[in-house]
Symmetry: C2
Subunit: 222 residues, 2 copies
């Protein structure tokens, strides 16, 4: 089993072509993880929505059966056998509906919460950092450009000092944002396994508990 690869923070200042090339590999990997996780997120969202709908529909069915007695049937409305049979059905379906509702809640907490956090927080943060890094790189390039054009002409000391200051602050900014970006890309390599496994474990656990609950409440008693 290979170790987790890292973008060396100490290379950020030099910003060599080798570092840029390694950054490209990390960005490609991050894009692949992001793409895969988004697909998994969408599939899990579909499971969660369907489970919620199933819970609501089962509850509605149980409610309809409970309301049978309130219906005004001009003929045979006082049929007690039918009425009590439907009430028993309503009771069992109501228990099923409660189990469905518990499962929905557990899926929300143990499956949707971690994968949504990963998608909306970690992956989004990386996109933001990528943009911030791009902007600071562009600013740095502009400052360098301005400085190099300056040196050919004979400008006054004040303008020259401003240009030097500009190069210094923009390089400092770029260095900082690059380290921050590298750091987040490295962290993703540590988080990516947990990010996939945690919602899956949550799904399995919720599902297994639901099956046990159904078993108990439907009193099949194997």
């Amino acid at each position: 089993m290979p170790g987790i690869e890292k973008l060396p923070l100490e290379e950020a200042l030099e910003d060599s072509p080798q570092t840029r090339s390694l950054l490209g590999v990390f960005e490609e990997d991050t894009a692949a993880i992001s793409n895969y996780c988004t697909q998994l997120y969408q599939a899990m969202q579909r499971i969660y929505d369907a489970q919620n709908e199933l819970s609501a529909a089962t509850h509605l069915t149980s409610r309809l059966l409970k309301e049978y007695d309130k219906q005004r049937f001009p003929l045979g409305g006082d049929d007690e056998v039918m009425s009590s049979t439907l009430q028993q059905f309503a009771k069992v379906i109501d228990e099923l509906s409660s189990c469905h509702a518990v499962l929905s809640t557990q899926l929300a907490d143990a499956m949707m919460f971690p994968i949504t956090q990963f998608k909306e927080r970690d992956l989004k943060e990386l996109l933001t950092l990528k943009e911030v890094f791009q902007i600071s790189s562009d600013d740095h390039d502009t400052a360098i450009n301005r400085y190099s054009r300056l040196s050919k002409r004979r400008d006054n000391d004040k303008v020259r000092a401003e240009a030097v200051e500009d190069v210094y602050t923009s390089r400092k900014k770029q260095h900082q944002t690059m380290m921050h970006y590298f750091c987040s890309l490295n962290t993703l390599q540590y988080k990516k396994k947990t990010a996939l496994l945690e919602p899956l474990l949550g799904y399995m656990q919720a599902q297994v508990e639901a099956i046990v609950d159904w078993f108990i409440s439907s009193e099949i008693g194997i």
Copy 2:
């Protein structure tokens, strides 16, 4: 427990106000059953649709996990522990998805089929018969009207004979459609309990079998 009430077919020919009044009660009861069954049908359709969606979403999740190995992750793509763990998740979720698919099929056969048949065949037939009966009653009224206007004037024998013939055939038609309509309204009184209980039994049976299947395939082994 009261017996099942009937519209007397032998009263159809006389078509007295009492018979019409009793018909009104049966029609009201039929409308109430139809309304209640349609609500139950919609709730069951929602359960069935949600179960189908759950089955499809679970299958998709399992397929995504199986495809993990085919993803191109530039970093750490050869992590065998992660890969085999996800394959095991995929296998279990695939089994859950098969159970969901079996449940969907059973709900289609044992719940949706009987209630759809009742709604689309029995209840629709009654609406059609009501219309047919209405038309033949109107035709009969027209024929009676024409005959009564005839007798005041002095028409020739041919026209008179035609009017008599018209009254005869339209009354015969009305009598037949009324008996047919009464017969279907009576049948509904016999069918209404089965129509409610059959899809509910189908739902319960499918659900119980699914829980047992889940238990076996998830090998919890209580």
